[in-house]
Each structure stands twice: as structure tokens, then as C-alpha cells.
């Protein structure tokens, strides 16, 4: 892999950029691999990357039915934070955040991780108490968050209206280390690094069946033929139920549309990320200048990647109420992704009823921020066959035992 740097750019500029090599190879699949990962979203690619980096397992294929990073990884609003309430969540999201902090250097690809600070507004007394609880919990978890008053909120977000007539802002949960990153770059950076380790990323190849023998996985059927494997990782987000069915088991997961939209670009007016859960909306400003806006899920199961209009409307009402100056901006583009929701809104990183077949899903509306941590934990699970401490609590069995990791406790919208 040729390294990226400002010098490389200067050198290439002299020959009109004709010397750049491919970021990732486009190989034909081999007959079999040690590990096959289904799904080249952020989580699948990160799993492959840490399999190679942490465990030296590089005879790996990542199989993607469309184009890599084209699922939720390429559709999300890129909020990164680790101020989760429950211990297992805080652990894995904070692991992810600390990996994000060095990811550009690690991958030699600028993922534009931007710790611009993140605010979760409290607009009812109930919410104030909830966020205070989070701060107390985070302090014990080693996650630095703080509670700030309305004046500090206004100072961090000059365009905010803290005296709204309906839900005045009473304060906010503030995580200074939170922020955003460039979603495509995360997928591309991991893909490039995986490819450089000799792994195969096979795009436009859909997994259509899972083969097993004596309760152990042996391979997958794909639109490019059968591909054998010793171990299988299913990392397909909104399509988890479908692929799990191929492997012969069911998941406690529902698929729903989650939407987002952007405004036309304007000059910088908001540096931090703001989430307003009482009114249901959140907003940040991208490096391009677009206001990036999202809200809650559509609330009914669906696979269309479109989503309905009424949700957008609700989200905008909330945000115009919070930021009155955006009213004259225009919506440039609206889209949706299919998110995989578990009953307790926490993910699964788990063994499955099928031997040597592992699942990573259920990240729902908030898994972009988790990508490096999730890949790290999943790689360990796949490599060792048993979960490490980061993944241990996220097994499917928790639903049988009632050992939920309920994050909806803390926030209605959890991105």
C-alpha cells in the first residue's frame, strides 16, 4: 500500500495524478477462506481489519451485495459519542471513540474525525434528572461528560433559542470528546487497509445461502458461486434477519427506516453537535456547510430505504423551534436507511446457534460511532470463538435471561 501524505499528493500533482494506485483491489473470490464476513459496512470491514491487525488472520473475505459502505454506514448522520448510560454500552462506545481518535493515523486515511463537542439538551425536569444520572454513571465508567447550564449551552451554540415558549432549555449533557467523522472515509479507509493486508473485498456479490455440516458452518452461497469458510461473521445491519434465516436461526431484531436530510450549504454557524430528544431532532453542520438533520425512526417495519414524509416534518418542527434561524434554509436532500432494532436498543455481538457462525448487528440508529470498537470486539469473538469483555454482555442469550442493556432509558432518540 502506497502511503498517503501531502508529499505523495505533491509528487502526483506533477504527473497529473496518473500514478495513484487503487485504494482497494477488486479480486475474484477464492474457493474458500479462513473467515468470511458478510456485509462490507463499517462494522464488517472493521471486523476484518482487526482480525488482521490484532490476530494476524488475513485469509479473509468481506462479501458485499452492493458497493462497500453503501448501507447505513454511508447514510448516517455521523454522530460520535460515548456518553451511554449502561456499563457495557459505555465500555464499547468509549473504546470506539478512543480508536476513532487515532483512526486516520492508524489507517493512513483521513476519516476526518472531528471532536467538535456534543450536547444533549434537557428540556423537561425529567430529562434533567436522566442526564444527571448519565453524568454520574459516566464518571464511574471513566467517560468524561458534564452537565452544563443553559448559559453555557447558548455560549457553545449561539444560534440556539434557549427560551422557546414550549420547552425552554434547562441545560445539557455535554461530551467534549464527541463529534463527527466522514462516514464514507471510515468505510474506505478500512477497506483500503484490509485490501493492503491481502484480504478480499468482494463487491456486487450477494450472499444467498449459508451452508453447514454437523452444526458447523462450512460456507456461503453467493451470486458469484459458493465460497467456503471455516468461520462466518454476519454483519449486515438491516438485513440481519434475512441472513440469519439462511443460517437457520431467528433474531430479536426488527428493521425500520430511519431518515435524515441535509440543507443547502451555508457558512459555519454551529460547531458542536446538538441533540434534542424531547422534541425529537438533532443537527450538526458538516465541513461542507450543510446542516445535517435527523430524527426518530418511522416506527413501522420496512425495507425500502425511503421512509415517509411525516417524520421529516416532525423533525423540522422540532429543529426550527430549537434553531429559529434555519427556517429560511432549504432541504436539499432527504434519504433513509434500514436500521436493525433490538428490543433493548443495544447491539448483538454474539455466538449463534450455528457453530463458528457469529453475528454482529442491532446497532440500530446509533452504530456509526461504534464501528471501531465493534470491529475490535467482533474480531476477538471470531478469532477466539468466545467473546472478550467488550462483547460478553451483548450476547443473544441476554434476551432469554432478561439481562437487557436498555439504552432507551436515557434517551428517546439514540444516535
Amino acid at each position: 500500500m502506497r502511503r498517503y501524505s501531502v508529499f505523495a499528493i505533491a509528487r502526483e500533482a506533477m504527473r497529473h495524478h496518473t500514478g495513484w494506485e487503487r485504494a482497494w483491489a477488486s479480486p475474484e473470490p477464492r474457493a474458500s477462506y479462513d473467515v468470511v464476513i458478510v456485509g462490507a459496512g463499517g462494522h464488517g470491514l472493521a471486523t476484518a481489519y482487526y482480525l488482521g491487525k490484532n490476530f494476524g488472520i488475513t485469509n479473509v473475505a468481506v462479501i458485499e451485495k452492493g458497493w462497500l459502505g453503501g448501507g447505513n454506514t454511508g447514510r448516517n448522520t455521523t454522530i460520535i459519542r460515548s456518553n451511554y448510560l449502561q456499563d457495557p454500552s459505555a465500555a464499547i462506545y468509549d473504546k470506539a471513540l478512543s480508536l476513532y481518535e487515532n483512526l486516520s493515523q492508524d489507517l493512513n486515511y483521513n476519516v476526518m474525525f472531528s471532536p467538535r463537542g456534543l450536547l444533549m439538551l434537557a428540556q423537561t425536569h425529567h430529562e434533567v434528572r436522566g442526564y444527571l444520572r448519565t453524568v454520574h454513571a459516566n464518571n464511574l465508567q471513566g467517560v468524561k461528560t458534564e452537565w452544563i447550564g443553559p448559559e453555557k449551552v447558548k455560549e457553545l451554540v449561539p444560534i440556539i433559542n434557549i427560551h422557546g415558549p414550549r420547552y425552554p432549555i434547562l441545560g445539557a449533557l455535554y461530551q467534549e470528546r464527541g463529534g463527527t467523522a466522514r462516514h464514507d472515509a471510515v468505510a474506505w479507509g478500512y477497506a483500503r487497509a484490509c485490501s493492503a493486508m491481502g484480504m478480499h473485498i468482494i463487491q456486487q456479490c450477494e450472499v444467498t445461502g449459508v451452508r453447514s455440516e454437523g452444526g458447523q458452518v462450512t460456507g456461503v452461497d453467493t451470486t458469484k458461486g459458493h465460497i467456503g469458510c471455516k468461520k462466518l461473521g454476519i454483519v449486515v445491519a438491516g438485513h440481519s434477519g434475512q441472513v440469519a434465516a439462511m443460517a437457520g436461526f431467528r433474531l430479536p431484531v426488527e428493521s425500520m427506516a430511519l431518515q435524515a436530510l441535509v440543507s443547502e450549504p451555508i457558512k459555519p454557524c454551529m460547531d458542536v453537535v446538538v441533540m434534542a430528544n424531547t422534541v425529537h431532532g438533532y443537527m450538526s453542520q458538516s465541513d461542507k456547510g450543510e446542516m445535517v438533520i435527523g430524527g426518530g425512526t418511522d416506527g413501522f417495519n420496512n425495507y425500502t430505504q425511503r421512509g415517509s414524509f411525516h417524520h421529516i416534518e416532525e423533525t423540522l418542527r422540532a429543529l426550527i423551534e430549537t434553531f429559529p434561524m434555519i427556517s429560511r434554509l432549504k432541504m436539499l436532500r432527504q434519504w433513509g436507511g434500514i436500521v436493525d432494532m433490538t428490543g433493548d436498543r443495544s447491539p448483538l455481538i454474539s455466538k449463534t446457534p450455528l457453530g463458528n457462525c457469529f453475528i454482529n448487528c442491532g446497532w440500530g440508529t446509533g452504530g456509526f460511532k461504534a464501528i471501531p470498537g465493534s470491529g475490535w470486539a467482533m474480531a476477538e469473538l471470531v478469532a477466539k470463538g468466545e467473546p472478550g469483555p467488550l462483547a460478553a454482555e451483548f450476547s443473544i442469550d441476554r434476551f432469554k435471561e432478561g439481562r437487557f442493556i436498555d439504552e432507551s432509558v436515557a434517551a428517546g432518540v439514540a444516535h
Binding site: S5, R317, S327, L329, D406
Partner: protein, 992 residues
């Protein structure tokens, strides 16, 4: 230079001049001008700067595909950034300012990026700014952020208002060109309910500009007749200035109407958002012309050939004196002919095709226009304005054959149907080899619930390019047969030529713009292909092609073509990116509609709302309700007010507006059986006239709501829910009744708003009611946990003896419309007793003193009734209830759960909200272990100390133990585990 011609201009009214300003410069145009035509008439070709390289940019197009000419419009509370001048109607006093430059449009420092362009190819930022680690956040990103973004951010609150409206149609026609009008005529005559939307202020679209002749009439005459005919049909509605923004599932269409954009501050709403249900959508949005890719195709003065015609015919504006026409098709010859007829000079038509002998080229030659075939533009000369073109052979590498002076260039790369609305909901496209464009595949339309297509296209939107074909297609689309005839010249096919010249080297390709606004060039797309970003979505994202505010309308197809060449695959194999709503950007304010400020969400008021408002209330939002948090007398803090309210209620009598409490009637032969499933306790055996506290759990076993249930008669129960929970619980009941137990005979009604409810609470509560007079409220007649109907103070009342405070307490429900009068009566008779109203915080303190749980405080979706020592409220006699099996799971049945206890700080202080109790050691992830947390914490005026409840590991077994709780300053507070009931443990006070 660009100027106003002395005659013509079918849309302008020369008797109605309009003054406006651009960057402070005073200018004048006419009614009927767009801001674009008015600027050009004032020789203002340079109007903006590009996004990345800050290159000087002029007007390229005449419609919504315009990528460059975006301005800041208006001032102060009516300032709007990124307004497209080609779609902005001119009005008196309009002020526009150009964007994205410093210090000025003419001299922009940001243009250094242009000179460094070589070092800033597509995606350069992914490859650099990596080291040192902190530099991205602190140095590079701030620079990038500041130089990106187009218009300025508005500062003020929007002065305008917006509305939303609904409409329904059998046939919704989107686009009011001749295709749309013809389709509407056919549909209208069939008697269908027809709605026609046109985004501009005029009917007819392009046909009059292209000098079409329809049924022996000029296009203008035919259009006038068609509109008149449509206006005469009762079943047809026509709407101008209304843009079809998006097609959603099931034929749901969103449209934005500009009502007062051109008449600001006239009192009308600025925009209206239409939500339309249509059985059939006819998308007749027309086609958009493509640029050609030659070096310098972005220099101000280079325009689309069709748009040049628009400006000349519609507004009598000539973009230049000497215009070179460059094309790969016959259509552009119309521009050459028109310009010469208008007395302007066309030094040459450069036609990239080997031959040009269609009717139009022949006519042009006959007029003496020089036509050069097999030729292209090697490069455009000029910086802020075109000064000439260097001509080359299309087949070569760009060797300059000749340089021709000119001040504008009219280019045409062919036309692409507008397929957005067709595609939003899944309509598929096919590649049309002959016309070199993607067009809707009629066999694969977006479908509705019955599997039938919900959208058809009509006219150029289907790929029909001559007026004749357009009218035939539109007639078919609407189910008709008789299309009017149109006289059309014979046109030779377009040649699929994208890059000019064919063999251009890297030097030239790096100056051929594809996405003008985002500065994406042919070389960038080729770089993306080289680096493996070969999926069209990867190319788009890597280069930002098509991600600008025109969303690729202008040149996405050109980009796809370049990509297909770079990958040596066919264009259809490359495919397109996804078309997403909206078609053109929609104002956020319009999407939000009227819901702003006070009416941002519905406000639910109890019948006593006005009284509270008039009596020093401090409000607290509870769902959509507003409840009094406390009543703050002059000079009091909220805390003091709450303390006073608690003391008065405990020692005397207090009044609470409890109207928000959820009230759901459950009735029917199976109602008892139903409630036994819903609640953990037994409700079917509750005798008529009695009340019982009940808990509801979800299937997982977690506590979701609580409240008192009253048996009204044999078949009727009234279930009280929490204030915030009423709608949710009602929906939950219906969910079970409609989806699972649909054969049970049960009816539910949410009657929360039908009753006003007043809690009269405190040792003097009975005295107060006796003063009101009426029914017997003595302990004997109306004991604790019973209810009775009667009259009080002349009001029909249902009186419940229930208590959430531990005091003698009556909750009195009266019909909602008598609520205020009843409250007034209570206040009046209470005055002599010193009764005071109290708010939610006082209620909370009192319930905490009594150790009563609060849903949302003691519960958070992870807590089961057993955790809260509420096992007594779970019936052991029942076979089942919702949540029972859930609660039997290992983790929930474990003795090692966190359970509810009271907490008393050793020093009497108040524990912090949300505090945790750390335990010894760290867990496997290095986090501090915990053994409990505070769920409710208050200062109790009754006890004169802090009291709290909390969930603590095996708490009830650890009475008397001292546990530490976190404080935000990092220190710890010590608290003793005690019984959760702090006040009147025996319950003597409520049962008197």
C-alpha cells in the same frame, strides 16, 4: 456584453420597470424578468464563485438546473442564502448579494485554491491532513470549514409564515408545458378530477421558445387556448409557482407553492406546502440540456444553448454580442438562427459530429452562418468573461486550429429527460442509445399497493424530443388517442460526445468542469475510476459529483459518461445514483408549516388552565400538557413555594388540578378478563364501588404504568393512568384488543379530557367538602379506596377516596365543562380554611415522603414490580398476566437485583439526582463497579432533611447499612439504607 434587446420578450412588461440592487449596485429590470434575466440585461454576467476553487462564475442555465448563480436574497429577517437567480422572479426593491468570496466578487482571495488546483484533486482531503494528529481538529478542519459553505447563515428569526394544505386528485399533472397541458386536457375531458402544477409563473414551458407550431397555431396561441379550456372545466385545478417536490409511497406527493416570494411582506404566507394524494401522477417535467466538457467550459459567458434562447425569447436579453455555438446535435442550431435573426453575431457553429445536414443546420448555413463539423473547442479564453475560443478537431488531442473572438459560448450536449419524480419511488430507467439519455422504462414504473404503476411520464420527460412526439406521448399518458399535430423540422440524431476533444490530455481534462458548483472536473472522475472508486455511488461521494445544490441536474449524465469511458464499460452498466426528494430544494419553514412557537406542538390545557395562569403559576411541560410545577408567590423562590405547599397540605388542606391524570373506560362482557391480563393484580374481582391500585408491565415484565382502577358497574371499569401515559396505555390496550384478543368483547375509551379532576388533600379536606355541601363524604359512607357519585356544591361529582400523598384525600371528577367552576368553588370555600393550590413538585415530595413510587423515576424500563417491593400488587391466583413469563427469567428472578429502599444521608443533606453508589473494584472493562443508584431525592419540609429512594443491590436485606453515593464534584455522600416510607408508616393519616 450581455444586454436587453430593443424589442421582443414574451414574458416581460416594458411598461412596468422594477428597481433592484446587486451587491449594492442599483439596477433595473421589468416585471416578468427573472433575477437572472435582469442581471444579464444589466451586463452582470459574473454572479458568484465556485465552492472549492472560488472560480469566477456566471449564469449557465435558465432554470432549476443552474449551478452557479446563487445569491443571498433579502435582508435581516427575510434574508435567504443560496437563492437561485434563474428561478427568482424580479420584484420592486429586491436586494441580492453574491456569495462565497472575500473581500469581493471581483477580487476573491479564495481563488488561490484555483491556482493550487493541481494539488487539490478530487478526494485530496482523504489523503492528507493526517499528521500531526491534532492538526485536523485545530488547524486544517477550521480552514476547510470556513472556506466551504456557500451563502451566509441567516441570523434572525424568519419573519414569514408558511402553511400546509391537502389536496386530492384522480390525475395529478406535474409540469405545465405543452405535454402537461395536453395530458390535463385529455384527463379533464374524461371527467377526472385533475390538478396541474407548474413550478414557474407561466404556462407552456419551452415550446414557445422553440417556435413550435401546434395544430396550425403558434405555441403561444395553442397554450392560451389550452389554459382557457382547462380553466373552464369544473373538475380541473391549475396551480402556478408550485413545484412537485417528491413522490412517496402510495402516490403521496409533496409540492411547494411560492405564494409571496415575489411579493414579500404582503401579509400572505410566503409558501404553502401541498400534500397531495393522487390515484395517478403524470410527470411532465420536461428535459434538461447537458453541457459539453471542454476546457474552460465554466468561464462566465459559457451557457447552455437552450437557455440562451430562453433569455432571448422570453426576456429579450442577449447574453453576448458574438456567440460561438458548440454542439453535438441539431437543436443548438435553433440558438444560432435565433441570435442571427435578432441581429446578433454568431461567428461559427462548431459541430462535433462529422456531418450536419439536418433541416436546421441547412437553414443555418442558408442564412450565411459558418458551420464547422468535426470541430470542437480546445479551450475557452478569458477569466471573468469569455473573450474567445480556441478551435480544434474533435477527433484530435486539442491542437489549436484557430482562435475566434467572442463574448459568449452557447453549448449543447443533448437533452436528458427529467426523471426525478418517476424515480423517487422506485421507477426504473433505460438507456436510450439513439438519443443518448436515460429515460423512464414504461415497463418498470413505481408501483402502488395493488402492484399497478402510480406514475407515468409525458412529453420530453419520457424522452420524446420533438413537439410532435411530445404531444402524442402526453395524449397517451392521459389515456387519450387524439393528439394535435405539430409541425417539426427533421432533426438528425445527437452524437454521444461528452468530452471535447476526444483525445484531450490531462492538462485539458483538468479544466473541463462537470459539476460546476462543487468544482468536479473530468480529471477527478477519471482519478476516482483509477483509484477503484468505480461504483457510481463511490465516484459521486469521492469526487462530490452531483452533490451540489443542483443535485447533479446539470451534468450528472456527463459524469456517468466520463466514468463509463474511464472504466471501458457501457453507460447503462455504470447506472445512475439514486434520485432523492426534493426535486428542487424546499424551504425548511414550509416543511414545518404553522407549527411554530406557542403552537409548535398542540398544547393541552386543563379546564383550570386560565386560573393557574392568573395565579403565579410556574409551568412544567408534561407530555403535551402543561401542569403547575408550583405557584410562586411574589418574593418566593420555586423551592420556597414548594416547601410552603407541602407544609400547608400536610397540616391543613391543598388543592391539586389532577385533570391530566389518564382516565380510560374499559367496558364489556370480557372487560374483567382483559384487565386481569393487563394488570399484575386481580381486577375482575374488584367489587362495584371500590378502587384498587394496579400495575401494568410490558411483555418483558418491566413496569410501564400504574394507577388506581375503579369498578363502575358490572361491566365497566375506570382505569387511571399516569398523566404522561394515558395515550400510550390506551394504544397499548387497543393493540392487544385489535391484534391479539380480537374476539374478546371489550371496548375502551380514553375519557381523560371528559373529566376535570380536583384532588382535595390534607387533614382539612373533608371539612372543605362539607363546606361545599352535598353528598355525605364521611368515613363511614365513603371509606378509603371507595368511590361514589353524588353532588358537591351543586356539581355532579364522582368522588374517589384515593391518596397519593398519605393524607386524607378526595379526588373529585366533574364534567370537564364544569371543571373551572368547580375549582373556583373549592378555592372559594377553601379560602376560609387557608386552602392553597399545589403543583407537581409538591406532589412529588409528598409521595416520596410516603415511599410511593413514580413511574419514570423509580422505573426506567428495566425495573420489575418485584424490585420495588410491589410483590403484593401481583396476584398469585392468576394463571397469567402480561409480563409474567418475562419476570420468570433467570436474571429478573435473581435474588441479586437492585431493590428499592429509602436512603437517609447521615448529615441530612439531599443526595444528588441520578447519583450512583460505587462498589469495590473494577469490572472486566475497567469501569468502577456499582451497587445502586438514587431514583428520587428531595428535601422534605415535613422531616426537615433530605430524603431519597434508590435501588440498591439486595437493598431490603441491608437495612441500616451505610452506602456512599457519588457527587458531581467528585466527593461522596454517605447515606443509610432505611425503609422507603419516611412519613406515617402505619398509613393512619390517609384512612380517616
Amino acid at each position: 456584453m450581455s444586454t436587453r434587446l430593443s424589442c421582443g420578450g414574451r414574458l416581460i412588461d416594458r411598461r412596468a420597470p422594477r428597481d433592484f440592487s446587486f451587491n449594492g449596485k442599483k439596477m433595473r429590470g421589468f416585471l416578468g424578468d427573472t433575477l437572472a434575466s435582469a442581471l444579464l440585461a444589466n451586463d452582470q454576467m459574473l454572479v458568484g464563485r465556485s465552492f472549492k476553487y472560488h472560480r469566477p462564475r456566471g449564469i449557465v442555465a435558465a432554470g432549476p438546473e443552474e449551478p452557479n448563480a446563487l445569491v443571498g436574497l433579502g435582508v435581516g429577517s427575510r434574508f435567504e442564502p443560496n437563492q437561485r437567480v434563474t428561478t427568482t422572479e424580479l420584484f420592486q426593491g429586491l436586494t441580492a448579494t453574491s456569495q462565497n468570496h472575500w473581500p469581493s466578487l471581483e477580487y476573491d482571495v479564495g481563488v488561490v485554491n484555483n491556482y493550487a488546483a493541481r494539488f487539490l484533486p478530487g478526494g485530496f482531503y482523504y489523503k492528507t491532513f493526517i499528521h500531526p494528529r491534532f492538526a485536523w481538529k485545530h488547524v486544517f478542519e477550521p480552514i476547510i470549514r470556513r472556506s466551504a459553505g456557500l451563502g451566509k447563515a441567516p441570523i434572525d428569526r424568519d419573519a414569514d409564515r408558511y402553511e400546509q394544505a391537502y389536496d386530492f386528485a384522480d390525475v395529478l399533472v406535474i409540469g405545465g408545458g405543452v405535454a402537461g397541458l395536453q395530458a390535463a386536457l385529455v384527463a379533464g375531458r374524461s371527467g377526472a378530477r385533475v390538478l396541474v402544477l407548474e413550478q414557474t409563473a407561466h404556462w407552456g414551458g419551452r415550446a414557445p421558445v422553440d417556435e413550435a407550431e401546434i395544430g396550425g397555431l403558434t405555441a403561444d396561441e395553442w397554450i392560451r387556448n389550452a389554459v382557457e379550456a382547462l380553466e373552464g372545466m369544473q373538475n380541473v385545478t391549475l396551480r402556478l409557482r408550485t413545484m412537485g417536490a417528491g413522490v412517496y409511497d402510495h402516490g403521496y406527493v409533496l409540492a411547494e407553492e411560492r405564494i409571496a416570494d415575489h411579493t414579500p411582506a404582503d401579509g400572505r404566507p410566503r409558501k404553502r406546502l401541498w400534500r397531495i394524494r393522487a390515484a395517478k401522477v403524470i410527470a411532465a417535467q420536461g428535459a434538461i440540456e447537458r453541457p459539453l466538457s471542454f476546457a474552460g467550459n465554466d468561464v462566465p459567458g459559457v451557457m447552455l444553448a437552450g437557455s440562451v434562447r430562453d433569455f432571448v425569447v422570453n426576456h429579450a436579453v442577449a447574453p453576448g454580442d458574438r456567440t460561438v455555438v458548440v454542439t453535438n446535435n441539431d437543436d443548438a442550431y435553433r440558438t444560432a438562427i435565433l441570435l442571427v435573426e435578432a441581429g446578433l453575431s454568431v461567428p461559427v457553429v462548431l459541430d462535433a459530429r462529422a456531418a450536419a445536414d439536418g433541416e436546421l443546420p441547412r437553414r443555418a448555413r442558408a442564412m450565411g452562418i459558418r458551420v464547422e463539423t468535426g470541430r470542437g473547442i480546445a479551450s475557452v479564453k478569458g477569466g471573468k468573461r469569455v473573450t474567445g475560443v480556441a478551435v480544434c478537431a474533435q477527433a484530435g488531442q486539442g491542437a489549436v486550429l484557430e482562435t475566434i473572438a467572442c463574448d459568449s459560448v452557447a453549448m449543447s450536449g443533448g437533452w436528458s429527460p427529467i426523471v426525478h419524480l418517476w424515480s423517487h419511488c422506485g421507477g426504473k430507467l433505460i438507456w436510450d442509445e439513439v438519443n443518448a439519455h436515460f429515460r423512464p422504462d414504461p415497463d418498470r414504473p413505481p408501483t402502488g399497493q395493488d402492484g399497478q404503476g402510480i406514475v407515468v411520464t409525458a412529453g420530453s420527460a419520457s424522452g420524446a424530443l420533438t413537439t410532435d412526439a411530445v404531444l402524442r406521448d402526453a395524449t397517451n399518458a392521459a389515456g387519450g388517442t387524439d393528439a394535435p399535430e405539430a409541425a417539426v423540422p427533421q432533426e438528425a440524431p445527437v452524437a454521444a460526445i461528452w468530452v471535447m476533444p476526444q483525445g484531450a490530455g490531462p492538462e485539458l481534462r483538468a479544466k473541463m468542469w462537470l459539476d460546476y458548483q462543487n468544482d468536479v472536473k473530468v480529471s477527478d472522475v477519471q482519478l476516482a475510476a483509477r483509484e477503484g472508486y468505480t461504483s457510481v455511488e463511490h465516484t459521486k461521494r469521492y469526487t462530490t459529483l452531483g452533490m451540489a445544490t443542483d443535485q447533479g441536474k446539470l451534468s450528472n449524465i456527463n459524469g456517468l459518461a466520463v466514468l463509463s469511458q474511464a472504466l471501458s464499460i457501457d453507460i447503462p452498466q455504470v447506472g445512475t445514483t439514486t434520485f432523492r426528494p426534493p426535486y428542487t430544494p424546499v424551504t425548511l419553514g414550509a416543511l414545518a408549516g404553522e407549527a411554530r412557537d406557542d403552537i409548535f406542538q398542540p398544547l393541552r390545557r386543563t379546564p383550570m388552565h386560565e386560573w393557574h395562569e392568573a395565579h403565579d403559576v410556574e409551568w412544567e411541560p408534561v407530555g403535551l400538557w402543561r401542569r403547575p410545577y408550583c405557584y410562586r408567590r411574589p418574593g418566593e423562590t420555586s423551592h420556597q413555594a414548594v416547601m410552603r405547599e407541602v407544609s400547608n397540605t400536610r397540616t391543613n388542606v391543598g388543592l391539586l388540578d389532577a385533570s391530566t391524570l389518564g382516565k380510560i373506560i374499559v367496558k364489556g362482557p370480557d372487560a374483567g378478563k382483559f384487565l386481569d391480563m393487563l394488570y399484575t393484580g386481580m381486577m375482575s374481582t374488584l367489587p362495584v364501588g371500590k378502587c384498587r391500585y394496579g400495575l401494568m408491565c410490558n411483555e418483558q415484565g418491566f413496569l410501564s404504568d400504574d394507577g388506581v382502577v375503579a369498578r363502575i358497574d358490572e361491566e365497566t371499569w375506570l382505569c387511571h393512568t399516569t398523566s404522561g401515559g394515558a395515550d400510550r396505555i390506551h394504544a397499548w390496550m387497543e393493540d392487544w384488543l385489535q391484534c391479539e384478543w380480537w374476539d374478546w368483547q371489550v371496548f375502551t375509551a380514553n375519557v381523560t379530557e371528559q373529566y376535570a379532576q380536583v384532588a382535595v388533600v390534607g387533614p382539612n379536606a373533608r371539612k372543605l367538602l362539607e363546606k361545599l355541601g352535598g353528598m355525605d363524604v364521611s368515613k363511614e359512607t365513603l371509606p378509603f379506596m371507595q368511590w361514589q357519585d353524588g353532588t358537591l356544591g351543586g356539581f355532579r361529582a364522582r368522588v374517589y377516596r384515593i391518596s397519593f400523598s398519605g393524607e386524607l384525600s378526595y379526588e373529585i371528577a366533574v364534567p370537564a365543562n364544569e371543571g373551572r367552576a368547580f375549582w373556583d368553588a373549592c378555592v372559594a370555600v377553601g379560602a376560609e380554611l387557608g386552602a392553597m393550590p399545589y403543583g407537581t413538585e409538591c406532589l412529588h415530595v409528598m409521595r416520596a415522603e410516603k415511599g410511593f413510587i413514580m413511574i419514570g423515576d423509580e422505573t426506567d424500563g428495566t425495573v420489575i414490580p418485584q424490585d420495588l417491593n410491589l410483590g403484593w400488587a401481583i396476584s398469585k391466583k392468576k394463571a397469567d398476566y402480561l409480563g409474567k413469563r418475562g419476570q420468570e427469567r433467570a436474571f429478573l428472578a435473581s435474588p441479586d437485583r437492585w431493590k428499592l429502599v429509602g436512603l437517609e444521608t447521615l448529615d441530612g443533606s439531599v443526595l444528588e439526582d441520578g447519583a450512583y453508589a460505587p462498589a469495590e473494584g473494577l469490572n472486566a472493562n475497567g469501569q468502577r463497579n456499582t451497587q445502586g443508584r438514587v431514583t428520587s431525592t428531595y428535601f422534605s419540609p415535613t422531616l426537615g432533611r433530605g430524603i431519597a429512594m434508590g435501588l440498591v443491590l439486595r437493598g431490603p436485606d441491608r437495612m441500616g447499612e451505610v452506602v456512599e453515593f457519588t457527587k458531581l464534584d467528585g466527593s461522596l455522600a454517605k447515606a443509610k439504607i432505611v425503609d422507603q416510607v419516611f412519613y406515617d408508616k402505619e398509613g393512619a393519616k390517609q384512612d380517616v
